[in-house]
């Protein structure tokens, strides 16, 4: 199919209001998508991007999900919605054949009852009674296009994040839609995974598919867009009655890059979350620990730029020398102003210490004779002192999350010892270690389980601080991450960025000696990043040791005293 035979889509939203809410979640927005174009809808978390995408794709039915006033135009079809009972009804199956949508959570796209990647790809065709021979051809073609040809017999449940994202996109494009809407397609992918998705988008555009990118980052993919639309939701939270999202600017990337609207909307700068260029820093993002200038290359590192206050000779422990992961990284020090200084050394033990830790997954990880290459961690030594901020980087699947889960005993080492505040945690229940270690999970949804934001932040605080103080601590932690005013909301109703901040608040509220953060920047918009950075810096200033895992090297370099890489099961300084 060529670009000329493809149809265009236009949505005009006067207002869309979810049932049971007073204010529209979206208003005053018009988006047009031409064949073969790439339109980037940029906005902070909670600006209504996903709602916009779902409305365009027929995932949210007018009348069923909420009240929609506006119009949808696809080719020759014009649907007018007035928020009345006799409004047209979209058949989601028919509509999605021409306008496909891939949600932020790729796993939600899958039927979950198909045994192989090939069958999952074919699911949408089966439901449309496509003859089997056509189905076989379509699966083969789509697999080749999405780079899934070698994975067709795999169980979808065993795919990596990047593979899952491509499968979800394959499920969406197998019906050859005219328009493809992608909600944060690069979130939590490492560089290799992101490159594959970007290539796929280019090839789809080349075949005439109009692509809409919903993103909170003006990244390299957004830079390829023909058109940018900035959606600003203020500080919207569903259920809190604040203003909804609206289009505040539209134009070419060249016109809008560095614009005030982009900054106000909380869109992350063009060079990634950690790399905040001078023009990209929002006022809220400045402060201790937040770096202004862009990354300084290794050649420009001057020894004199290393601030003595950031170095603690005593931080170098004999036990930590084995894998040479000790001492501050000169490169980190060169990125002035860097994190807050490490407090003066005290006589007490280090906050966290790993001695010769080894671990491997399998039927029985503790069995002797497991081959070394099957080990996720091998002879890992690490010493972290109060007030120190350490970043651990490495590609997807390197075992970074596995390392963090050893800190509080969710995983137990098969060799070696983990010591928290000078005491071994061997045999100590996780719930007891939790008084000293606060662990932020990689996926906030895995961490949140309560009915309201306040209950979530207050879970388990009574045992730590007593009934009188628990609620105050919870409220203070929510305030520290900028979530005051959302106490009554349901955690699932928060935007992805705010869910992560809430998860962070639940950890901060416990005032642990060690903060272990797993990919804390993923899903955060610029406002969220600022809240994260100030919370981390504040915690470190009060003596909390921070270990953060991130695949974003630039962010790690700018925000940590030391940057370590986990590779082949071992930590090394970079």
């Amino acid at each position: 199919m060529t670009a000329t035979t493809r149809t265009a889509l236009q949505i005009r939203i006067e207002a869309f209001t979810f049932h049971g809410e007073n204010t529209p979640v979206l208003s005053g927005a018009t988006v047009s998508v031409a064949p073969g174009s790439l339109t980037a809808v940029l906005g902070g978390s909670g600006s209504g991007k996903s709602t916009l995408g779902k409305l365009m794709a027929g995932w949210l039915w007018a009348g069923h999900a909420g009240e929609f006033r506006g119009s949808l135009e696809l080719g020759d079809t014009l649907l007018e919605f007035r928020g009345a009972p006799d409004d047209p009804r979209i058949n989601p199956a028919e509509w999605s054949r021409r306008v496909a949508f891939v949600p932020q959570d790729a796993a939600a796209m899958l039927s979950s009852v198909r045994a192989t990647v090939a069958e999952e790809l074919a699911f949408g065709l089966e439901n449309r009674a496509t003859p089997r021979d056509d189905m076989l051809r379509a699966v083969e073609r789509t697999a080749a296009r999405t780079g899934l040809s070698d994975l067709l017999d795999r169980d979808p449940a065993t795919l990596s994040g990047g593979e899952l994202r491509r499968l979800a996109m394959g499920c969406a494009v197998i019906t050859e839609p005219d328009i493809l809407i992608l909600d944060e397609p690069l979130a939590s992918l490492d560089a290799a995974g992101a490159a594959q998705v970007e290539d796929l988008i280019r090839s789809l555009r080349g075949a005439g598919t109009g692509v809409v990118l919903l993103s909170q980052a003006a990244d390299g993919l957004a830079a390829e867009a023909t058109h940018w639309i900035v959606l600003d939701g203020g500080r919207t939270v569903r259920g809190t009655g604040l203003d909804g999202g609206t289009v505040t600017a539209a134009g070419t990337p060249a016109q809008l890059a560095g614009s005030a609207e982009l900054q106000r909307a909380g869109v992350i700068g063009i060079r990634g979350p950690g790399v905040v260029g001078p023009g990209d820093v929002s006022p809220a993002a400045t402060g201790p620990g937040v770096v202004g200038p862009s990354v300084v290359g290794p050649s420009s590192i001057r020894p004199s730029a290393i601030r003595p206050s950031a170095i603690r000779p005593s931080a170098i422990r004999p036990s930590a020398i084995r894998t040479s992961v000790v001492g501050p990284n000169p490169a980190a020090g060169a990125r002035s102003p860097g994190p807050v200084p490490v407090p003066a050394p005290g006589p007490g033990p280090g906050s966290l210490e790993l001695r010769g830790v080894g671990f491997g997954y399998g039927a029985d990880a503790r069995r002797r004779g497991v081959p070394a290459q099957a080990r996720v961690l091998r002879d890992v030594d690490l010493a972290v002192n109060p007030g120190e901020i350490i970043a651990v980087t490495g590609p997807n699947g390197a075992g970074k999350s596995t390392l963090l889960r050893h800190f509080n005993g969710l995983l137990r080492p098969s060799e070696g010892d983990v010591r928290v505040c000078g005491r071994s945690i061997a045999g100590v229940p996780v719930g007891t270690v939790a008084a000293s270690i606060g662990l932020l999970f990689q996926h906030p949804r895995d961490q949140l389980f309560e009915r309201t934001v306040l209950r979530e932040a207050a879970f388990g605080l009574r045992q730590l601080f007593g009934k009188a103080e628990a609620e105050g601590k919870a409220r203070a932690a929510l305030a520290a991450v900028g979530l005051s005013g959302t106490e009554a909301a349901h955690p699932a109703d928060l935007s992805a960025s705010r869910q992560r901040l809430l998860a962070l608040a639940t950890v901060l509220a416990r005032e642990p000696a060690v903060l272990a953060l797993d990919e804390p920047t993923v899903g955060l918009d610029q406002h969220g990043l600022a809240a994260l950075q100030s919370a981390v810096v504040r915690a470190a200033a009060t003596g909390t040791a921070v270990v953060m895992v991130t695949h974003d090297l630039a962010y790690a370099r700018m925000n940590a005293h030391r940057v370590l890489e986990l590779k082949d099961g071992q930590l090394s300084r970079i």
Binding site: A57, W59, A435, D446
Partner: protein, 261 residues
């Protein structure tokens, strides 16, 4: 149970309907015969096949969970209180242990054991994707197949979700110790989050299923092909006839003779 291919795929594949027919017919014939030695033989055969298929480790515990309370209640109900019982073995007040009562309890117990075992054997060995595909091929509404597949995959999904919630709660200070009471207490805290999370999951998946045409009416096709050799079809027909004959024989044999209809 996983949805993946099983490691015994080297054997000639059994069509899901063949396995289902075999299980159902075994249960029907055992019930119709009401003959303890046959029930015991069927139960033993099911155990033997479970061991051969490598699923005994899952079939037997599941059977124990179902059968232990069932057999115990049969024993109490019929062993102690069987009005027709003549041969009294022991008596405590109104409770009488009679040989007839024990015999009846044994017969019912072995029959139920046989039925439970054959159906557990079927459900632990059937390839769910094959079954769903075969059902769809027989014009049975796909929603039925989806519900069936979801039900069979629900237990592992719930286990994964429960584990995540437990980890999140432990990370925030909930201490779970080895004792049963501690674990039950922890489970109580996990129930509400579990149900809410499953509902949330179902909601988000429903939109995707609609968009992928799952809710649409009309014909469907199947990507997965399940071989159905003629020999298996003949076996199914024969098994169904045999089961029907057993039922008819049972009705005729126990029809009260000489009573005007």
């Amino acid at each position: 149970m996983t949805l993946g291919h099983r490691d015994y795929d080297m054997r000639p594949p059994l069509h899901p309907f063949t396995a289902l027919t075999a299980a159902a017919c075994a249960a029907v014939v055992t019930t119709a015969a009401a003959y303890s030695p046959l029930s015991v033989a069927v139960a033993l055969a099911a155990v033997f096949l479970a061991v051969r298929r490598g699923v005994a480790g899952r079939v037997l515990p599941a059977a124990a969970v179902i059968l232990a309370p069932l057999c115990l209640s049969l024993l109490v109900l019929h062993g102690l209180f069987f009005p027709e019982g003549q041969t009294v073995l022991a008596q405590w007040g109104p409770a009488r242990v009679t040989a007839e009562g024990l015999g009846f309890a044994l017969e019912l117990g072995t029959r139920n054991t046989a039925c439970v075992l054959v159906f557990l054997l079927f459900s632990f060995t059937v390839s769910v994707p094959d079954l769903v595909s075969a059902l769809a091929g027989r014009r049975i509404p796909p929603q039925f197949g989806f519900v069936l597949a979801s039900t069979l995959t629900l237990v592992p999904a719930v286990a994964v979700r429960l584990d995540r919630i437990r980890q999140a709660q432990e990370t925030r200070g909930m201490v779970v110790r080895r004792g049963l009471l501690s674990r039950l207490g922890a489970l109580r805290l996990q129930m509400v989050p579990l149900v809410l999370a499953l509902i949330d999951d179902a909601g988000s998946r429903a939109q995707a299923l609609d968009a992928r045409g799952f809710g649409s009416r009309g014909p469907r096709t199947s990507y997965r092909e399940v071989a159905d050799p003629p020999a298996q079809r003949r076996f199914r027909a024969a098994a169904l006839l045999f089961a029907a004959a057993a039922v008819v024989w049972r009705i005729v044999a126990s029809w009260p003779v000489g009573v005007p209809s």
